[in-house]
Structure formats: structure tokens, C-alpha cells
Symmetry: C2
Subunit: 376 residues, 2 copies
């Protein structure tokens, strides 16, 4: 069995579990740092594993397909060997990137035509070939090809888009069953629940995806412009329909508060670029609140970056030094801030897991969502 | 005694020695990575010490004076505590940076007026205040304030400039003797030999600086446009005059071949931005020659970056992966290449030391200068 549900919080939907891949076990809830081009920006893989304690990382099919390309990844023997990451990896389907990054995209029944944002070259993604591409990349978890409409899409568009996503899912699944892993270990395929912010569409989608006996299910198309309470409502509704014995992955979400709210509603897996992207801009997430390290108030604050010490850099460097690096535009600023933020996100989900198991999650979460929103 | 000469190569001038500072011992010959703004670009201090095995690093007085400024460094208790580097540090005098980076510079007897390259603010460096600034920064080794004319300067200019540099040195030394360390450990002040490419001026300068009983002496104003053979001639001439019981520091030099040639001529200390700057551009130095990692030939070369393994990244990552990162403009490329190059430079000087001591330096150096110039 891929997933094992280990514990459900008393009086709530929060869960602790674990799933097993060809590259090892992942304990949930889990945060998966985003490694777009097979690199979590600014962090050596050794530090990602040993220091930030990331259990599993993401890579983006769109980026890897364009660079280094499928052939190089196949010659390398898959993405793990290519980038030197020995733990589990997940790839998205490329759909979201095509819609958000590529030029001249055109969606048809067949798939999506687009021009590369790198060199303008023209490509076609179909449900079938994104499964093939993910087979070649060699991720432990692959994602179905879907359309991800904006959070403000009207009902008519949302319904039409959902039908297309469901037809694409069926084609993905067929291709998945028709093909074999290339590197000797199991590759799971996760369907994605869509439906924008329309409860009936979300419910329909959460039921539809279950016709495929997948190792897990994802919730997509959230945190794309809708208000947070609406997102939480959609998560709650969807998780009420999805089977409890499969992991649930909330795609691309979010702030530390978003993550705790979603864990409380039964989500097991998360990914988000915020720890690295915001880190590069000088924003640090801590258990006491958010630090904008550029602020003048840190100029002569020689206390550790974060005395809680989620990674070695938190206590090896001071706020004043990190501010100096950030103001000076030094690479090391991005390295330290990214490492800190990723370590903090990994700690947050690991701590949630611990609290779920020992029965203190609800109370802890209630205190944390207040503290996490502080501006230090 | 600051410096201990341990061994001189048979039939040559190459030397092995060591010097002792308030932050520990440094074995020579030694390469000192350049940490301009108290950060060796792209490398965490932990990795610089434990992985690249840097014994001592540089920081630039000009940069630290402008950012974070003397007050912050004093409040921190000196640069070591500010940046979390516990081993020895050296600061230059700021002279070279003022002449090469600052705007609207104007040299007078008093010193040098300049406008900051960051915000255009106006400042004055004098022999006295650069000593004061270096006292506040807290480097173990401080450098005298000098003028560094281009390698193409005519004799008349070179002679006038040298006289000014010598008058400035006397003022530096006076200020050095008038002031005390601020953080409880010894700070050495190294005079700098100048004289462009004119043997008589270099000889005059090498004799002049010895009136100050310094812990060591530097050779400045080389590798600034003159041909390499002329540089080697100037080094040989200068080292023939400098005392043998003091370390000799060749400032800002150079390629691995330059370094071996200079070691053979009796130089003990080096610094250069090439390992980090060229690393950021995708150039790797190895014992077998130079790699331009952008080249198409590495696209599917899954062998380790450098099987010799000077740092963990050399064998943790493949050439194909590093090429992918470099082509994709990923930060991790600069991190890996910088770490490799700095580790290689530190290995090169440590290996030279080992060879000097065991009597195989001359032969090894003859083979290495051929290999190091290869293009792989």
C-alpha cells in the first residue's frame, strides 16, 4: 500500500500518515520545496536534505522538458541521478507553467500549444505526452495534465474547463496504464481536482477523480486569486469527498497560516515557492512572525537570525549581517534566507505532524496562526 | 614571532612556513579567498572552512567602510563576529578599490577624495584614517594605503607615485604605532612594495619598506596590465631584497599558473577574485586544465565535476548537471563553481607546500604549469 494513515486529530480532520516510494518514505503532513529546474534555488542538495530536512522535492516538467530536455534526463538515468537528489521527487504536469509562463499558448481538445519562454520555439503538450515526459524525467509522483483557470473565472468557463480537465485526466490515466516506469521504481500518477470556487463543480470533480484508483489525489486551482476563506471552504468540501486512505496534495499553497489551516482540514502534502522566492527578497518566516530583513531596525541587531535554529545558518549568522548582505545584493543573502525559510516550512509541517500524533494540534495551531501573522 | 620559515625548496626560492594570528595559525604558501563585503560570494562560511579548507580570507576596506559602515562593525565587535568567520582575516587598505571602483577620485598629498559607487556620497581616505578604519574592522592583517598605478605607467609617473606611496606608508606606520587594537588581538600592518615594472624603482621600494619592522610585506601593482614574464621578473627581484624571515604577499594574483610561478620565486600569500568571479561565469579550474562548463561537449557528460574531489560538490554533481544549471542561469551554478574553484585554489597552495617540504616541488610545478593551461 502506497499510503498509510497513522493518526487523525481528535475532533478534527488533521491527519498524520506516511507514504512509501522507490526513494524512501515520506511522513505527512509534508512540505515539498520547489526545485523548478531540478534545483531548489540557492540550496545545495546536501543542505536541503541534512540541514533543512526536506523529505521530498518538486521539479517542474515544463522547465525540465525545455532544459535540459528529455534526452539528457534519459541518458542520465532519470532526474534523481541527474541532480544528485536521492530522496523522493514529484513533478507537476507542466500545465500550470504553460498557462502562466509560456508565450502564445493555445488550448484545444488535443492539448496545449505554446512557445517556449526561453527561445520562442513551438511545442505541444498533450495529456499523453506529459505522462511520457514525466516517465522520462522519472519522478516518484507524476501529476495529471489539467487546465488551471483563474480564481475569478465565471461559472460557465469553470464548468467547461472542468470537463476538459476530466477528459484530459482520462487520457492521462490511459497513457499511464499503457506505459511502464523507465528506471525500475514505481511512479504514481495523481489526478487533480479542479472547479474554481464553485462548490458543485469541486464536489463533482472530487467524485470524478475517484474512478481512477490513484495512489493520491491533488487539489489544484486554489490560491490563484480567490479570498482565503473561500479557499478553505473548497479544501474542506473536497476533502470531505476524497477517500481518507489516500494522501491529499494541495498544489502551490501557501503561507504558513494557509498550510496550518489546510492541515486542519485534512491536507497531507504541500508545495510553494514562497520560502525561496520571498527569501530572495529578504522576507523571513519564523514561528514568531515575519521578518523583513531590509528594515533599518535590524541594522545593529546582532542576535541570531532565528534563535529557534531550524537550520545551522539561523544561529551561525546574525540579523545585522543578513541585513548587510541583503542590502548589498550579495548572493549569500539569498542562500541564507532560502535555507532558513525552507527549513522553517519543513519544521512547520513536521511539528504539525508531531502535534497531531500527541493530540495537541488544535490548540497549537490556534496559537500559531496568530503568531505567524505578526510583523516583527 | 609572527612568521616561522619552515622549509626552503632545494635549488630554488619556494618556501613553506607558517604565521600565527589571534585567530589561529596559517600555513604557507596560502591562498586567501576574497570576501569583498565580508562574504566570499556564493559560499557559506561553514563550507569555506570545512569543505574548501580556506585558512584565511580577505575583506575589502572600501566596501565595508561604505556598507555596513564602521559603526556597525564596531558594535558587532569586529568583522569576525559580524560575519561569523572565526579564522584569520586580512583587509586591504581600500586604495586599489578607490582607484578602480569609486567615481570622481582625486589624489592629493593628503590622500584620496572619492564619490561612493553606491550612492555618490563624498569621502576622503588618508593614510591615517584607513589605518583607523582597519582597526575598527578588526582584521588580523591590515594593509598600508598606497597608490597603484597601471602596469603601463611611464617611468616618470611611476617614480612620482612611488614617492607618494612611500610618504603615505610612513604616515600609515605612524598611525599604526599611535593606535591600539580594538578587540584584544594583535593586528599586523603590511607595507606594500610598488614601482610598476621598473627594476630600480621596485628595488628602491623593497629596500624602503624594510625600515618598518613589519610582520610581513606585500608586493602590489602587479597583474595590472604588464606581461606575465615581466611580472615574474619583478617578483624575483623584489623577493631577492625582502627579508627571508617575513611572509611575502603578492596582491591580487592570479591564475593557477601565476601562483605556482610566484611560489617558485618565494611568494607565501595570495589572493584573487578569479576562483569566484570566473566560477560565476562557468569557468572551472582543475589540475588537468580549464573547463568552460557552458560548452556543448559537457551536455551529456555525467562524470563528476572533478573526480579529484577538492570539495564535496565535485563528486556530488556531474558536469552535465552543472552545465544545465549554468545555461539556465540558476544560482546553484555559481555556488557550486565558486566552491569548487576556491577549494581547488586552496588545494593548489596546500599541495605546493607539501611538495616544498618533501622536496618534489620543482618537478611537480614543471608538470603542473603545462596541465593547468590545458583547455578541457
Amino acid at each position: 500500500m502506497f499510503f498509510e494513515l497513522q493518526h487523525t486529530a481528535q475532533g478534527g480532520a488533521a491527519r498524520a500518515g506516511r507514504f512509501t516510494t522507490g526513494h524512501g518514505v515520506v511522513e505527512t503532513p509534508v512540505f515539498m520545496p520547489v526545485g523548478t529546474a531540478a534545483t531548489v534555488k540557492g540550496i545545495l542538495h546536501r543542505d536541503l536534505a541534512d540541514d533543512a530536512r526536506a523529505q521530498i522535492i518538486l521539479a517542474n516538467t515544463y522547465h525540465l522538458y525545455l532544459r535540459p530536455g528529455v534526452r539528457v534526463l534519459e541518458e542520465a538515468g532519470g532526474v534523481h541521478r541527474f541532480c544528485g537528489w536521492e530522496r523522493p521527487m514529484l513533478t507537476d504536469s507542466g500545465g500550470f507553467q504553460v498557462f502562466s509562463l509560456a508565450d502564445c499558448r493555445k488550448i484545444t481538445e488535443e492539448g496545449c500549444r505554446f512557445a517556449s519562454h526561453i527561445d520562442g520555439s513551438r511545442h505541444l503538450f498533450t495529456p499523453e505526452n506529459v505522462v511520457d515526459t514525466q516517465r522520462s524525467i522519472g519522478a516518484d509522483i507524476m501529476m495529471a495534465f489539467d487546465e488551471c483557470p483563474p480564481g475569478t473565472a465565471d461559472r460557465e468557463y469553470a464548468a467547461k474547463s472542468l470537463e476538459l480537465t476530466h477528459r484530459w485526466l482520462a487520457r492521462c490515466w490511459e497513457q499511464y496504464e499503457r506505459t511502464e516506469p523507465k528506471y525500475g521504481y514505481r511512479q504514481s500518477l495523481f489526478p487533480i481536482v479542479q472547479g474554481v470556487v464553485y462548490p458543485d463543480l469541486r464536489a463533482e470533480s472530487a467524485r470524478f477523480v475517484q474512478q481512477f484508483d490513484a495512489d493520491g489525489y491533488a487539489i489544484g486551482g486554489l490560491a490563484v486569486g480567490e479570498p482565503a476563506p473561500v479557499m478553505y471552504e473548497m479544501i474542506e468540501l473536497t476533502n470531505g469527498i476524497l477517500p481518507s486512505d489516500k494522501p491529499r496534495y494541495l498544489m502551490g499553497v501557501g503561507t504558513p497560516v494557509n498550510i496550518l489551516e489546510a492541515i486542519e482540514r485534512g491536507v497531507d502534502m504541500f508545495d510553494c515557492v514562497m520560502p525561496t522566492r520571498n527569501g530572495r527578497n529578504g522576507m523571513l518566516f519564523t514561528a514568531e512572525g515575519i521578518i523583513n530583513i531590509r528594515n533599518l531596525k535590524w541594522r545593529e541587531d546582532f542576535s541570531p537570525i532565528d534563535p529557534a535554529g531550524y537550520c545551522f545558518a539561523d544561529t551561525a549568522y546574525s540579523k545585522a549581517y543578513l541585513r548587510h548582505l541583503t542590502i548589498s545584493g550579495e548572493m549569500l543573502a539569498a542562500q541564507i534566507s532560502s535555507l532558513h525559510n525552507v527549513a522553517f516550512y519543513c519544521w512547520l509541517t513536521a511539528e504539525a505532524r508531531r502535534r497531531i500524533i500527541n493530540g495537541t494540534f488544535t490548540e497549537w495551531k490556534r496559537e500559531m496562526v496568530v503568531k505567524l501573522a505578526n510583523r516583527l
